[in-house]
């Protein structure tokens, strides 16, 4: 799986997983509430429980492909590990736990820095799993229709839906132009690559404008009056599911409050 077709992979998964027909409101409520609890939590317990439960829901119940999930997790995990090592080694104040006298400076590792880095690691993993839950189970269209119902400004939702559509159109065009450049040795050497990228971007920009013109004509021909209407065929949210999520959230908040004063290190 290359990085370039990850969009299509995620998008396809959002339409084909077993939660695809569940009410988007329920899924959004679960993902966002867990996300906020995970990020606001001062102890490690909430992010760990959240990570475990979203992973279980995704892999076992929604039947998301394990490979796709692991592929998605790999990048943030790699980045957060690097960042957290950096924080642990160079950040923090107060009580030192190790002092290393190097020839040019005294390197001190602080207890608070290590604590901060461990907390950050688990917070990110918990939050990222919530984001993946939302992304892998809910299609973008469902998401934005739900946002429109939640009275997010109309123009913002319409813009997003149009942008979503055009991302895939432009990606296809870009892929073709990129292949053409590669075939003609346009990527041999750094300077040539930058030049090729510049030409590609320029061409893409002009294509973009032309497409904009054509789309407007097409929309006009179909009776466009300044508003874009989408069929809202949404399954209703189940009260039991919502109540279950609320209980889960409440339990997490209680767990966070009880473990708040337990130090990380």
């Amino acid at each position: 799986m290359s990085h370039s077709d990850i969009y299509t992979q995620i998008d396809r998964c959002a339409y084909t997983n077993r939660f695809a027909k569940t009410s988007p409101t329920t899924k959004i409520f679960f993902a966002l509430s867990a996300l906020i609890i995970s990020v606001s939590s001062t102890s490690l317990i909430a992010p760990i429980i959240i990570f475990a439960s979203t992973t279980l829901l995704l892999l076992y119940f929604a039947r998301v492909r394990v490979r796709l999930y692991l592929f998605l997790l790999a990048y943030p995990t790699f980045m957060v590990t690097l960042s957290c090592l950096f924080i642990a080694l160079f950040f923090g104040t107060g009580q030192p736990i190790a002092e290393i006298a190097l020839p040019w400076f005294n390197w001190t590792i602080f207890r608070s820095g290590v604590a901060m880095s461990i907390a950050t690691f688990f917070r990110v993993e918990g939050a990222v799993s919530c984001l993946f839950f939302l992304v892998l189970t809910t299609s973008v269209t469902d998401l934005f229709i739900t946002l429109r119902r939640a009275h997010v400004p109309k123009v913002l939702v319409e813009m997003s839906l149009l942008i979503y559509r055009y991302i895939f159109v432009l990606l296809e065009v870009t892929g073709k132009m990129n292949t053409a450049q590669k075939l003609r040795l346009g990527h041999s050497g750094v300077m040539r690559r930058i030049r090729s990228l510049g030409l590609l971007a320029g061409n893409l920009f002009i294509r973009t404008l032309e497409q904009g013109e054509r789309t407007f004509t097409a929309m006009n021909a179909r009776g466009y009056d300044g508003e874009i209407r989408v069929l809202e065929d949404m399954p209703p949210s189940s009260k039991t599911a919502l109540a279950g999520i609320a209980v889960f959230d409440a339990a997490l908040v209680v767990a966070v409050l009880f473990t708040m004063n337990i130090g990380v290190v």
């Binding site: 123009v155 319409e158 997003s160 055009y166 510049g198 002009i206």
Partner: protein, 232 residues
């Protein structure tokens, strides 16, 4: 550089949302006004957003994890004005989180501030200043893209520094993050600058055609005769 999901602890992600929302709200206000008076602008602006996304998905060579978001957003800022660009950037960042797992929802406020507000506003201001100073177009474009890019990373470093203090206080921590970013970002910013110059050069050749297709939004960028108008 996107700050990843969950990386900023409370209260910092909330604070960046609070700072970003009024500016984006102004952008939404302008967007509503323009699409009301010029319905034909709507698909065009949406395509600008998709253009920013696609450009950011194309990697510049040699630096891993790099992202041409600043160039796309800078160009959009010059063409449609920085206010609307902040809204487009916000939407693009949502899609980068949803379709690429790049960045995140809680860090959306902070990322929009650095990449959708500081970068484009700086690029726009530098572009205008360079025009006033009668610098050659290519110099102005290079400065706008490069400095806009660097300012984005300075902002990101500052956002991380206030959230993660070190022994040397916020300043020490800012230098820590900035130092790490500088290694990768200074060559990248210069690459972005060159990219932008080539892009604008190319667009200048097609200026007549462009102005024809841009009935709503004037492209003030290319050549000395281009007019300066923010959005419209």
């Amino acid at each position: 550089m996107h700050i990843m999901e969950g990386f900023l602890p409370s209260p910092w992600w909330e604070i960046w949302f609070a700072i970003t929302i009024p500016i984006v709200a102004y952008g939404i206000y302008r967007l509503t006004k323009i699409t009301k008076s010029h319905p034909e602008a709507k698909p065009l602006l949406a395509l600008m957003g998709a253009f920013i996304f696609v450009l950011s998905a194309l990697k510049l060579p040699s630096v891993t994890g790099s992202c041409s978001h600043p160039t796309g957003a800078g160009l959009a800022a010059v063409v449609v004005g920085p206010g609307i660009t902040s809204v487009l950037s916000l939407i693009v960042l949502v899609f980068q989180a949803l379709l690429l797992a790049h960045g995140g929802l809680t860090t959306l406020g902070a990322n929009t501030f650095s990449m959708g507000i500081v970068g484009p506003f700086a690029a726009y201001a530098i572009w205008i200043a360079a025009k006033k100073a009668r610098l050659p177009t290519s110099v102005g474009v290079f400065l706008a893209a490069t400095l806009g890019d660097l300012l984005t990373y300075v902002t990101t470093s500052a956002q991380l520094a206030v959230a993660f203090p070190s022994n040397g206080g916020i300043m020490g921590s800012f230098l820590n993050f900035g130092g790490i970013f500088a290694v990768t970002q200074i060559p990248l910013a210069i690459g972005e600058g060159i990219l932008a110059v080539i892009l604008f050069d190319f667009l200048a050749k097609y200026k007549g055609k462009l102005l024809d297709s841009l009935k709503v939004i004037k492209l003030p960028t290319v050549g000395a005769t281009g007019r300066q108008e923010e959005g419209q």
